[in-house]
Point group: C2
């Protein structure tokens, strides 16, 4: 595996691989089995697999956890190599953002709900880094996990509406044995919180049952929230049942729906979802 820190070096390496397909796995590092599942899918479908590791300051707001976001580059490099990644791109903030002419990419109504509602500007930063990385890497396929379902929906819309030259591949959520969705942030849970956190998925499964029983969205959201707060110290950021990927209220024309939650523990905000 080749570790690359500059855009120039990366592009020279990619140019040498002309004619081969490139699968791209963008990450913020502190890899877990969710990321490695993205790599596994990328290896199956492409000649070359490129991973990026970059904790993107542009997508963290003031007071969010940019500083405390977990990092362990040595471990990440070992895990990426073992997983079969060919190139890992680890740029500095200066390498990624040497200039700022003030151009911004603003998401549409898909960003108004869920994490977008409580993290203003978050998806501007996501779209910025995603466009930059896609342009730098020029991947045939890019792999995103379904855990960040809103991010995935917005990126799919960006690719579709702006003709970006990569195919977006959705990869299912990977979970711990007790059902907690894998997340780099899970290490910031206290032992008690970690014990309670699987209630999030249990609540989603209960919500899915209520949905198939025909309960109204507002009632389902209430039941799911009560289930979580009744069995944990977590505070509800949101529980929402929406159409997917438009992330708008459900209508008679909705095909897929998402039940999505964000729960705040003492130092950690966790998200999870189920798509029906």
């Amino acid at each position: 595996m080749i570790v690359v820190e500059t855009i120039e070096e990366l592009q020279q390496l990619i140019n040498k691989k002309a004619g081969k397909t490139v699968g791209f796995v963008p990450t913020m590092g502190f890899l877990h089995e969710g990321h490695l599942s993205l790599v596994k899918h990328a290896i199956e479908q492409n000649d070359i697999v490129m991973m990026s590791i970059f904790v993107n300051p542009a997508q963290f707001g003031p007071g969010e956890d940019f500083e405390s976001y977990p990092r362990d580059l040595d471990r990440d490099i070992t895990l990426a190599e073992e997983a079969g990644v060919d190139f890992v791109f680890i740029p500095s903030v200066q390498e990624m953002y040497p200039f700022d002419g003030g151009i911004r990419i603003l998401p549409g109504p898909q960003a108004d709900e869920l994490c977008g509602a409580s993290r203003p500007g978050h998806f501007d930063g996501v779209l910025k880094v995603v466009l930059k990385l896609f342009n730098i890497v020029d991947p045939d396929r890019s792999y995103f996990g379904m855990k960040d379902a809103q991010q995935l929906a917005i990126i799919e819309t960006f690719v579709r509406d702006f003709n970006l030259r990569t195919k977006i591949v959705r990869v299912p959520i990977v979970r711990e044995d007790d059902g907690l969705a894998k997340s780099s942030r899970n290490v910031n849970l206290t032992p008690e919180e970690r014990n309670q956190a699987p209630i999030i998925q249990q609540a989603l499964i209960k919500g899915a049952e209520l949905y198939s029983n025909g309960l109204k969205p507002v009632q389902i959201e209430k039941e799911v929230a009560n289930f979580i707060t009744g069995g944990s110290v977590g505070e509800i950021d949101y529980v929402k049942l929406l159409s997917y990927p438009s992330l708008q209220p459900i209508t008679s024309e909705t095909n897929e729906v998402i039940l999505a939650v964000a729960v705040k523990f003492s130092k950690t905000r966790l998200i999870d979802n189920i798509i029906m």
Copy 2:
């Protein structure tokens, strides 16, 4: 020359030309010698030259001249072929904008002055179509005229800050024998206005002299405006002396400056500039 109307067909054609460099000349049609100068530069530097002709509704505001913008596709196709264009891409509005997920690209402070001040949203629409076309065509080099100096500056910033995979080539303004900058909109001038319009360049040359004589920007702007209104029926939209390409007030660190004007005639708004 091959005329292409769909993105799919265009990309199939480009894929067949692997290994060859592509020079791209995006236009809104009604071609004049300014456009053909872009083509000439593109032919010199690339294996293949692609032109697009698309009057982009996203960059016209309400009450602007989208409907009356001059169009003559048959003539454009003949001129492009004679100039040596290999592919001309003429998409419909539906082909370019089949979806709208509401994602917008907002320019930074470079859009606050000049045409950006009087055309709110104009450069959002320019950045939208430019990103789409760059993704569709994937050109090695893209050619823009210096007449739209603000557009050029903003696109250069976009390419730099977002790592777009094309090199931007600046091409000098082409003028009529009497000095009027070539523009598709010149045909909308009345005979009297057409007679008077060369005063715009004369005023810019006078302004450049005043600048080299050390006159202050605000005085130069006033003199240039008076010169134009004194010798024509044109109304001043703006006369501005700014740093280039940042389009900010001139400081002791400014290297290049632009003297830029926009003049409104009865049915036609003309722009011109000089860079010093």
